[in-house]
Symmetry: C2
Subunit: 291 residues, 2 copies
Amino acid sequence: MTLSIAHLGPPGTYAEQATIFYVNWLKKSTEIEAILSPYPSISQSLHAVADGQAQLAVVPVENSIEGSVTTTLDTLWQLDSLRIQLALVLPIAHMLISCASNLDKIKTVYSHPQALAQCQGWLERFLPTAQIIPSNSTTEALQRLGQDTTTAAIASSRAAQLYKLPILASCINDYPENFTRFWVVSHGEANAAYQTSKASASHTSLAFSMPANTPGALVKPLQIFAQLGINLSRIESRPTKRSLGEYLFFMDLEADAKEAQMQSALAELTTHTEILKILGAYNVLSISGVT
Amino acid sequence: MTLSIAHLGPPGTYAEQATIFYVNWLKKSTEIEAILSPYPSISQSLHAVADGQAQLAVVPVENSIEGSVTTTLDTLWQLDSLRIQLALVLPIAHMLISCASNLDKIKTVYSHPQALAQCQGWLERFLPTAQIIPSNSTTEALQRLGQDTTTAAIASSRAAQLYKLPILASCINDYPENFTRFWVVSHGEANAAYQTSKASASHTSLAFSMPANTPGALVKPLQIFAQLGINLSRIESRPTKRSLGEYLFFMDLEADAKEAQMQSALAELTTHTEILKILGAYNVLSISGVT
């Protein structure tokens, strides 16, 4: 059987880059064949898995400079049936891609808002008068370029190659340490075939809403893990969308949900939360070099 | 003296609407005259205050559906000298603005990513095949419309009036309870003239980085306030931009930083944090009706 893996398209996005890495890893370690299915949005990639059009999705969850990809968190909260199988960490290097002969010619720069924000300092310094226009993906920005010598786009070097467009400036991200973390998500429960280790997971992700907004309400859930010496590697709040000032919390913990200690912590957690969802227990794979 | 108040422009944005409300309030309650200064980005509005080009800025900090406006948080962390003087809560009602005679004609919809996200469900239901294109502000989207009957933009009813464009569908936000919270920010310390009450503030906002990522590190800061019965009304994490997995925390507390109890809590907090910044103590003003 050939798997279908949904990701943000069109071809040339960082999400596609992470997906290609995962497809190669999957083939090498489990001999499972997979094909890439690009979708126009992150939300649609996740819905494709929930609806059974694809078996897996590779979605960005967090960038080290710009923070959470909130669409991913909000869609995972909505779609009950999805589980995280693996995390992938991709190093990000943004290129200024343009047919212009030099920077002086550039009047307009297109890219995804996350990429624009990650290069904000560089743009203010080297292209202070250029108009900055957001696009739905880094690749969509490239497609707007054509042969026009007054426009530029920000995307990966792989995307420049793919669209046969020249790189005018390399590694223009404001912080050289720039990484995006992706989640490999499937329908239903943990599936050893999609994971790096059958034995144990290094991380568990969960999300919960709270019964009431009282002083100290968030302390209790945090204390449960602190008392067991389980490190909270990330906490993110998102609006419940019911009213201003009501939040959901997303937590990443450095422990396996299957361990006895975590099982009792999670049981205790249910008494302090309104709705609790275990998003998955998984390991992290670092992507080195460009695929 | 006439004050200059920076906000995200061009005219017709929700930020401008909040600013107009504040200018009217300021005139009525303190007889201070103020003029509006639109800037092309939220970050530039805040920098204008830090650089002395404007005395105040009105910037969005959070929407009840889409969550934090991360540019505002990140810029306030960078710019040491700014202080929150007041919070404003604006009800949001998005309109589909277009010269098209009906929805079937519309091929493209422009708006700010926050507005597009807040109408995502409506767009998927009523305009499933339309191309969705992000813009830098809701007003910029309107400026792209012109008389073209195949395009539409999402903005406020006030913006439609301002640009003399017809509203094709009203209140298209997915959740009718949609509010954006803004902060009125000045240079330097608290200034009673900009505030609703000289006596006391209902909220204090602060931000801090942590000395180390160990189990329970975040529990201590939360415990300090919980033990004193001080409610935490919001917590938000943002990347430090140093490396993946290192965070800053932004907290809103329901207490006045000037109170003795809060003073001792803040003193204790410094022993558990690396850098601690008090962003301001302030009251909240609800904007009812459209200005």
